[in-house]
Symmetry: C2
Subunit: 340 residues, 2 copies
């Protein structure tokens, strides 16, 4: 074990999980009432009983580089990331978002203004108000431009966990995969594909509310496939739920331009970050209805059933290529730092 923090410790994969388990969760006081979802659950957020409902709380820092990328920017990312984490716990009735910015001395006020405008637009789209904030300035060279930390608070009658997959459940993704990571990667690697690629960054709380409103009981688990992509999210869900997951490669919705760019850099789209997508574990008899409902919404047009939960090979992910099956390895972490 390294005695220094490495980039992989922030990359959403196995190394980050180990760091969090060893440093943040171990020994943390377990003071929450029984039934709550706390730090030790390592879910998308926490859930605390409040009267006959649940209060869900989530927090994120956003360090994406560059600040503006095709399809979005750090402001839209911050709002979407937080709203989506809340939604992944089943909490789509947002009480409020918080926004703490840290800015480098000398940063352009115009650029800051543009980011704030984008946050506002995203929060209107998400029907989630930014209710309070904080501003800190660090000296030149002490922070790279701008970092935004957001937290969110929302209410729900039922908490959906990432650990709720059952054998037989179908895995649904709400749209094409790899769009966000590939758009940022293309900019950073100077692939010159920015014209074709665009991040999917969007607040999907309303999409999730729609599907939970109609088929709530059939949705057993949710997680958003951000850092480390669909593969990392499914590894975590499968491991926590004690199931294996078999993915059907032919069903994976991937844009042609993302597939082409991913081949160029040699990374499987399954490992590439998304910022406007969810993975759902759905009771098998409801999967067609769930996919049909998702496709009614502009953010769910390309929703698809992509796999099935099995009893065998707990915690692992298997890809059925049509010609055979292969194990999808668990990454140490997201291939690209500062993807979100």
């Amino acid at each position: 074990m390294s005695d220094r923090i490495l980039l992989k410790h922030g990359a959403g994969g196995r190394a980050m999980r180990a760091l969090i388990e060893q440093t943040f969760v171990q020994g943390a006081p377990g003071e929450l009432p029984p039934g709550s979802v706390g730090l030790d659950a390592m879910d998308d957020g926490a859930a605390v009983r409040l009267g006959d409902r649940w209060l869900v709380v989530t927090a994120d820092s956003h360090v994406v580089s560059p600040l503006f990328f095709p399809g979005g920017d750090i402001g839209r990312l911050a709002v979407s990331g937080t709203v989506n984490d809340l939604a992944m716990m089943g909490a789509t009735e947002v009480v409020g978002l918080t926004c703490a910015v840290i800015v480098e001395e000398g940063f352009s006020r115009d650029t800051l203004e543009r980011v704030v405008q984008s946050m506002r637009a995203a929060s209107r789209e998400a029907r989630a108000s930014i209710v309070t904030g904080d501003t800190k300035v660090m000296g030149r060279g002490e922070i790279d431009g701008l970092v935004i930390s957001t937290a969110g608070v929302a209410l729900t009658d039922r908490v959906v966990r990432d650990a709720g997959l059952h054998p037989g459940d179908r895995i649904v993704v709400t749209g094409t995969i790899g769009d966000h990571g590939m758009a940022v990667m293309s900019l950073r690697h100077d692939l010159g594909l920015e014209g074709d690629l665009a991040s999917d960054v969007a607040p999907i709380g309303q999409l999730v509310a729609l599907v939970l409103g109609r088929h709530g009981d059939a949705v057993h688990a949710m997680k958003d496939p951000t850092r480390g992509g669909v593969a990392s999210a499914l590894h975590e869900m499968a491991g926590k739920s004690g199931v294996g997951v078999v993915l059907d490669e032919a069903s994976l919705p991937v844009r042609d331009e993302v597939r082409a760019a991913a081949e160029l850099v040699g990374i499987d789209p399954l490992y590439i970050a998304n910022e406007g997508k969810a993975i759902l574990g759905v009771r098998a008899d409801a999967v067609d209805a769930v996919v049909a409902t998702l496709r009614e919404h502009p953010l769910g047009r390309r929703a698809a059933a992509i796999g099935t939960c099995v009893v065998e090979r707990q915690g692992t992910l298997v890809l059925d290529t049509g010609f055979g099956r292969r194990l999808v390895a668990e990454l140490e972490g997201e291939p690209l730092p500062r993807i979100c």
Copy 2:
């Protein structure tokens, strides 16, 4: 107006307030239900109606340098800062805290562990659990060591505002002033006084709960005098409340070693940051009882009535030196960057 962000924009004074007003608050959608405390109030946090109670939400980033200082560290500061902001809104029943850390690649895991241990100890002391978090790593040179963003959620039956001062109210401070800022400043300026100086950083939610429990109706306003010290907090409270404040210099509780160090660097302790103190606006007939209650608690031993609200000179702060009166100027911002 500068088109670049300057250090003073994060320094808790007039420049920061102007930036927040111009960039974050202006044009923000006012979607909260009537009676709520939102972004435009620029209070210590937000308050949203939840059934027959109020949910208070607050957020902060902590960028203090160095990470460890006499009397505390960034972990204790992060927990205390958030708990105290909640308490300043009257919300001492904490539902949960969130913790998002951003770490520089190459940072020592041992040091991170020490900071996390300190957060845990402070959260136990504050009776406030850290319920969820986030971890990001930035590359070497992209961030100076470690930054912690925290948010807090708490419940209260009554929201206390920073704008609630009335003419005739007495101003109470819960203890000695300038301890935190002077301890950090001494380290940074190599004054060699670290042996004598110590930060006051502490979660004062329980102290506030004690006084609100006994004298709630008599407490008209609260604010914690962090960046920019007692002077900045009182300028803000006086301006929002439409009163003037006259301080009695002889009543200001200042440790001898803080006074000596402040004279050495030429800064008035009124402008120096505190991290375990509150300023209360108290109905005149209750002030002795409030001070007596505060002094029962270990964190309120040196509580004192230090001033009075007047009708004249709205928004200004006047110091009665015993020989005469002088205006206490409003600073552009805290004299020392990264004080918290």
